[in-house]
């Protein structure tokens, strides 16, 4: 009786495993991207839009390349950057992306940071935020720091979408907050 019970249990697991292997051979709609992201390509900082409305009401774009004084170098910051390096990016107008959960973002995030997660991209959301980012410009992604993987996962999917200059603020939002750098609170303007 017991041996038959166990044999059938093993057979059910084997059937499930066989179906799983067969299913895994079908290319998924969204690929499973795990592991460490590729290092970012070096290059100039992106262009920070800076529209100014003149006295006569006309819009004048004073956009300037933020790299005017910093020519591209081959040895730029690596994939993982410190909070201090992230703050340098912040001062140069680089886009920041918060990859934590929505509640954490709402409670507090880096000033002007976008909200985007790997789960959103997998489920076909987050395209509005993606359209706001320049794939060729640096993007700093952060999560809760420590053993948090959300940044790494998001960067994997951003790289697959053509973003070549992603950085991860390794120590995450807690370190940024502890450093006294600019933060904001509230729900994201673009949540999906």
């Amino acid at each position: 009786m017991t041996s038959r019970l166990l044999f059938r249990a093993i057979a059910l697991v084997a059937l499930g495993g066989g179906l799983a292997i067969a299913h895994s051979l079908i290319p998924p709609k969204h690929p499973i991207l795990l592991g460490t992201p590729k290092p970012p390509e070096s290059g100039p900082f992106g262009v920070v839009p800076n529209p100014v409305v003149t006295e006569n009401g006309q819009s004048r774009d004073t956009t300037t390349p933020t790299t005017a004084s910093t020519p591209p170098t081959q040895a730029g910051p690596g994939l993982n950057i410190t909070t201090a390096e992230a703050f340098e990016f912040f001062q140069k107008g680089v886009s920041f992306v918060d990859s934590r959960n929505l509640d954490e973002y709402t409670a507090g995030h880096i000033e002007n940071a976008f909200y985007l997660t790997a789960d959103q991209l997998i489920s076909g959301k987050g395209l509005a935020v993606m359209s706001m980012l320049d794939p060729k410009a640096p993007v700093v992604v952060y999560c809760g720091g420590g053993m948090c993987d959300a940044s790494k996962n998001l960067v994997n999917y951003l790289q697959a979408a053509g973003f070549t200059r992603c950085h991860i603020m390794h120590d995450g939002y807690p370190a940024w907050l502890a450093s006294g750098h600019p933060t904001a609170q509230g729900a994201p303007e673009i949540a999906e």
Partner: protein, 161 residues
């Protein structure tokens, strides 16, 4: 093994039927939700940090194998075909889930469950004691089927009549 008799007392047979169908249906639902987005479930599995980072292929395997085993065992429970064996497999799976969740609590990880895909009930937010309690209840129900057999209206019962 008289304690593993497949013929529970008549009133218990109806209760086991309800438990078996509800449990099976729940696991089929969980499997469908996970299989609708293997990538999202794979990320969730990776977040638990049970499988080493250099063994991503095992994470991908788990992302497909766990829901398919849930689906097969869930269907088996609903039909009452090899129900006791299916309940045994689900018992082991649930015990594994409980151990994984306890491990994340101990390591203070902030991990989402993805147990039912985008749905979260009755627990929400990062995995915690609520998830352990929920899985504990499901484990007790699965053990009931292991112990009592398939109950009423089961293919197992019809085929042995």
């Amino acid at each position: 093994m008289t304690s593993l008799s497949s013929k529970p007392p008549a009133p218990l047979g109806g209760i086991v039927l309800v438990v078996r169908v509800l449990l099976g249906g729940l696991f089929i639902f969980a499997a469908v939700m996970k299989l609708s987005s293997p990538a999202a479930f794979a990320l969730s599995v990776a977040h638990f940090k049970i499988i080493p980072e250099h063994a991503d292929h095992l994470t991908k395997l788990a992302a497909y194998a766990v829901p398919w085993i849930e689906a097969v065992c869930g269907l088996s429970l609903v039909l009452g075909l090899w129900a006791r064996s299916a309940a045994l497999v689900l018992t082991l799976l649930l015990a594994g889930f409980i151990a994984m969740i306890a491990s994340t609590i101990y390591r203070d990880l902030n991990v989402s469950c993805s147990c039912f895909g985008k749905f979260e009930f009755p627990c929400s937010g990062p995995v915690g004691w609520c998830h352990i309690a929920r899985n504990g209840v499901l484990l007790a129900l699965a053990l009931l089927v292991v112990w009592c057999g398939p109950g009423s209206l089961a293919i197992d019962r019809e085929s042995t009549r």
